[in-house]
Amino acid sequence: MLRYVLRRLGFLVLTLILTSMIIFAMTQLLPGDTARVILGREAGEGALEALREELGLNDPLPLQYGNWLIHFFTGDWGVSFSTRSAILPLLMGRLRNSLMLTVVILFMSIPFAILLGLSAGLREGKLLDNLISVGSLSVVGLPEFVSGLVLIQIFAFGLGWFPANSSIRIGSSFLEALPMLILPALTATLVLLAYVARLTRAGVIEELKQPYVRTADLKGLPRRTVILKHVLRNALTPTITVIAISFGWMISGLIVVENVFNYPGLGRMLLFAIERRDLPLLQGVTMLTVVGFALANLAADLIYATLTPRIRLS
């Protein structure tokens, strides 16, 4: 197991380094003169040149990359061009918001999704299964801005249950924020719900075909024991790893949702950074995303290994 963990960690570091290179390269390719972005359109050439020198923009790229990476890992993420504030604390606030939203999404979707998936899987080919399948298939590919706008129309303007806008105050407590989290979470939930339900269904159907289920049945165990103890345990393994991965993904993958609802999470910050050509901020957001994603992947691997003795013990 230790070896396995070390191995996964090794991959994680490798992926991070490669990804950081990709991000660095891409942000370097973004059009626009960083110094000009900072100083604005009226700045003189002299001031621009001085700033370029100060920011190390004239250094060779590999050196810039190296410096950037070192700063990144030492927690010195620099100062945002556009907001003039330190990036790390700025992002931590956003990260907290994103985590709050993610947690609500997971709580809203996962139990229900597993229940739906299990019900469908156990009744493969029956009416309920077909309904769930077609329903989830319909929802899973729907862009969030379509579903989000419909939800706003219904729940905010129509019924007036939840606010249409989720621009929570930075630092507001979870309970304060909760009413504003419901609609964006619901929007993202639709997709995740459908996805996890489908996955669970597939897992259940797959596991039900396994000979060990027959063994368990023919041992004379009650059906409930067979399903809950034998089938579900194995069927949920892929589901749980996907949940872990989507956790990492949602932290900054909810770009559209956050923009539809004006929710101050990392996703909105990302769009902001891109629109402003705020390179340090952009690099910070993307790296944070990647680290989050990589950690979630690691968690998924470890959960998978824990649930799968074959991996854990070899």
Partner: protein, 288 residues
């Protein structure tokens, strides 16, 4: 069952007929296929069918609700929403479709080579792809679009870059499974050339998976194109891109809900249609 039937079909046209028949066997996938065909039709013949031009403004008719003259009403600039939705089909489907094709082309090519040769090359490519996939697709798309600028060409590249690794991985896994099969060994023992082994022996085995993957990618590409349009970084106005139309008319949803809900509905219908068809295709090709 379909597999058996497929096996019994000796020509590719007959196989195609069987697959199509299988698609129409389920109500859900027939609905999907019909939707896809309908929109494909619209994207080809849209200009002939649309009563107005995509950017044709009739000031006198601005903000009209759906009527005989304007089936889906008009928007704030007096443009006919019905025409724009119809013409938008080409916009969205051609971009998504072309992007998917490019991704499928490069993805299967890279996946084939990487899977067949393995070793260091494979390791490098797969690590690189892992790293690309470590970025959420939307983030990667935004980064790329920021670099390339918002243009149809940029979008095309974005879709290709975002989906090539996914397709490559899927193809690679099939190649890894297939290349150890005895018929590939047999071909090698016959002295078949590398090209023949790759394309004559192995490639056909990837087709079912590739077809399903391509249709899924297509659906996600529509998703991506319209989401980017909605964020305002994709197709540029006044193009009748559905995502863009939703963005532009979002403000007027209380006054002219039709201007937002018809394009939004078009996205929903197409995506659901493609998904249902893709699912049907998967079922037809991969199991039962």
């Amino acid at each position: 069952m379909i597999r058996v039937a497929l096996g019994a079909a000796s020509t590719s046209t007959r196989r195609l007929k069987i697959i199509i028949a299988a698609l129409f066997q389920r109500p859900s996938s027939s609905v999907g296929v019909i939707i896809v065909i309908l929109f494909a039709f619209l994207s080809i013949f849209g200009p002939a069918l649309a009563p107005y031009g995509p950017n044709e403004q009739i000031a006198a008719d601005a903000r009209q609700s759906p009527s005989i003259k304007h089936w889906f009403g008009t928007d704030q600039l007096g443009r006919d929403v019905f025409s724009r939705v119809i013409l938008g089909a080409r916009e969205v489907l051609s971009l998504a479709g072309l992007g998917t094709l490019v991704a499928v082309f490069f993805g299967s090519f890279i996946g084939m080579l990487s899977g067949y040769f393995g070793g260091f090359l494979d390791e490098v490519i797969m690590r690189l792809f892992d790293s690309l996939l470590a970025l959420p697709a939307m983030l990667l798309a935004l980064l790329l679009l920021g670099t390339l600028g918002p243009s149809p060409g940029g979008l095309l590249i974005v879709i290709s870059v975002v989906y090539t690794p996914i397709v490559a991985r899927v193809v690679r896994s099939v190649v890894l499974r297939t290349k150890t099969k005895a018929f590939v060994d047999a071909a090698r023992l016959q002295g078949e050339s590398l090209g023949n082994i790759l394309f004559r022996e192995i490639f056909p085995s990837t087709l079912p998976v590739l077809a399903v993957e391509a249709s899924l990618r297509f659906s996600y590409a529509i998703f991506l194109v319209s989401s980017l349009g909605f964020l305002g970084v994709g197709v540029q106005p006044p193009s009748p891109d559905w995502g863009l139309m939703v963005k532009e008319s979002r403000a007027f949803v209380t006054q002219m809900p039709w201007a937002m809900y018809f394009p939004a509905g078009a996205i929903a219908v197409v995506v659901i249609g493609v998904n249902l068809a893709a699912d049907g295709l998967r079922k037809a090709l991969q199991d039962d």
